[in-house]
Symmetry: C2
Subunit: 366 residues, 2 copies
């Protein structure tokens, strides 16, 4: 790991594998465990950087595939990189585009070289290879960049998953070779589907490469929630203690608590902003549709204990009005609350781990 | 005028009728001349109250017609009134709904009693009378409420305008009688179309009623810009010096400078947020479409001299990216800049009047 990056554990839970730590990057520290909001197209939908900061966001995500299609990495680089382009001074992580191109389904072809697909924007043919993904991510300039991996769907046969897992390993080695910037940490991604032996093998192979951080990928692709837990339980113990561990695409309260109990540090999910844009609020793990008639004359805040700008200033009745009237401000306020809620939830878990109260305070989720 | 309201002139231009003053209301002062952002449905589209405050907004608008249809005035009253409902602690003005119901065209019928129309929301028949409009505005609880007027279209015959102008006067008297709250100031609206003699007659009649403020209505309904100027020039000198003067629906740079030169204090217009939602920026009186290819790699702020959050943090290239990608944040940032631009413009005029530099600094607009 370059000197710009470090992960230091601060406390371990006495009863689970949960840990609290600090992940340091060139653009600042991330207190773990922590939820990271997703800013696919170089913005967390509907929210300003100032609002994200107030929500407690430390590291945010952006996406290589989406930014390559628009506005293109050269424009982001021309602006001085992603941090300047989107005015986010804190740490940023870019996903490699692997997950997105595999989600394209029929309109892409995969070979050992990489993935060829038609741009959904202009129909042009695009070649995304491990080298190209890393080159784009080097241009974008995030603090953490992700290996270009092959993410098998769920369900997938053992053979399919084996092919994808082995290829992901070969592609990772190509990513490492292509990677040019010392001020960016390249994380490897453990694949292996729902097959415990393949997850173990993949984890061991990746650990041997001594990367600055490790992610568990290929989850939250449609499999039952229990399987996520099983995958995390098998994989996490094999990952090194002194490196951050990131469970990709996971962000419900229950899944996060369980993954943290297995030793995961970082999470991301589009859920809080997606729900916000659809007029729904995350309140203590529940999902409330603000269009529901019962909120029309409910003058309480969404969550009295929430310090966010939405809960400190507005009532459920007002949010219900904005959502019914399709006013954009309603979606902004709900997104702000939802992002705050998930970050606060992981912050509360962190505080509990620091005080060794994790299993007592979060027993109901475990 | 109730003791809660006052208008005090601070300076007069030596060469024009322009004046700088302070309009005091129960929820704070408005430094005039000043542009007021429009928050039709109890929110200025895409912007939080915190963002509005940072933009320099002092008084904002909301609309009786729209709020009656949704969420209904009883819900707003249940929340403790408009200020609490929308979390805007500063002064608020509600328009009476007159302009909106007359804009409904064929689906409404006008009589001496008032206006009957079908709700565009649920098809139910709604009676909006002067008494009802005031009752709704009393429930909403804005600082300034507007008389329910008949706004003739442009063009309209002398006979049509005469009927509307006289009816507006009779309706104003009914509004005054219906008005119940001392902590709300009822403004009269001068109608009279483009007919100078009718404008004069209406202004004289209204002044005799000794209202706490006066508006010029029925402009910006499709007539050429020069006619607005003519109407303002005829009407304003007849309005009392010690009351605020509000030119309804006007908010372009040129129209505001000219109206201020004739003695207008307050303006409102949906233009800044509407342009923002359509991906356009107001920059020193020009309108820029951020989708224009020339902005794709333009890494300068919209306006280097603008102190708004958008100009202080983001480039034209980033805004162009957000607008092209239809990201809601782009519309928010543009709305924020546009509202800031119009408020700052009136603030700069105010500063110039206070220093008696109005005609020299704003000569190019006059």
């Amino acid at each position: 790991m370059s000197q710009s990056f470090s992960f230091n554990s601060q406390a371990f839970c006495s009863y689970t594998k949960a840990r609290a730590g600090v992940f340091s990057t060139p653009h600042g520290n991330i207190d773990t465990p922590r939820f990271m909001p997703v800013g696919t197209l170089a913005n967390v939908k509907t929210l300003t950087p100032a609002q994200l900061q107030a929500a407690g966001a430390q590291m945010i995500l952006a996406n290589t595939y989406h930014l390559h299609l628009q506005p293109g990495e050269s424009i982001v680089a021309g602006a001085g990189g992603l941090h300047k382009f989107m005015a986010w001074g804190g740490p940023i992580l870019t996903d490699s585009g692997g997950f997105q191109v595999f989600s394209l389904g029929d309109i892409r072809t995969i070979s050992e070289t990489g993935v060829k697909f038609r741009s959904p924007r202009d129909g042009s043919m695009i070649d995304l290879t491990p080298e190209r993904s890393i080159q784009i991510q080097n241009e974008l300039g995030a603090d953490v960049i992700m290996a270009f991996d092959e993410c098998p769907p769920y369900p997938a046969s053992r053979e399919e998953v084996e092919l994808a897992t082995n290829r992901t390993y070969r592609w990772l080695q190509r990513c490492m070779k292509a990677h040019q910037r010392q001020d960016q940490a390249l994380f490897g991604i453990v694949q292996g589907g729902v097959y415990a032996d393949m997850r173990s093998m993949a984890a061991r192979q990746l650990v041997d490469l001594d990367l600055p951080g490790y992610a568990i990928g290929g989850v939250s692709v449609g499999e039952p929630g229990e399987l996520i837990d099983d995958i995390v339980k098998v994989t996490t113990p094999l990952l090194p203690e002194d490196k951050p561990r990131y469970l990709m695409g996971v962000g419900t309260h229950r899944e996060m608590v369980r993954a943290i109990a297995s030793g995961i540090d970082l999470f991301d999910c589009v859920i809080p902003t997606r729900l916000g844009r659809h007029g729904s609020a995350l309140v203590r793990g529940e999902r409330w549709n603000l269009k529901n008639a019962k909120f029309r004359e409910d003058f309480r805040p969404l969550d009295e204990s929430c310090p966010c700008y939405c809960c400190q200033n507005f009532s459920r009745a007002y949010l219900s009005h904005l959502v019914r009237a399709k006013e954009a401000l309603g979606f902004t306020l709900l997104s702000l609350h939802n992002v705050t809620e998930l970050i606060r939830f992981t912050q509360r878990i962190r505080d509990a781990i620091l005080g060794d109260r994790f299993t007592t305070e979060f027993a109901s989720w475990l």
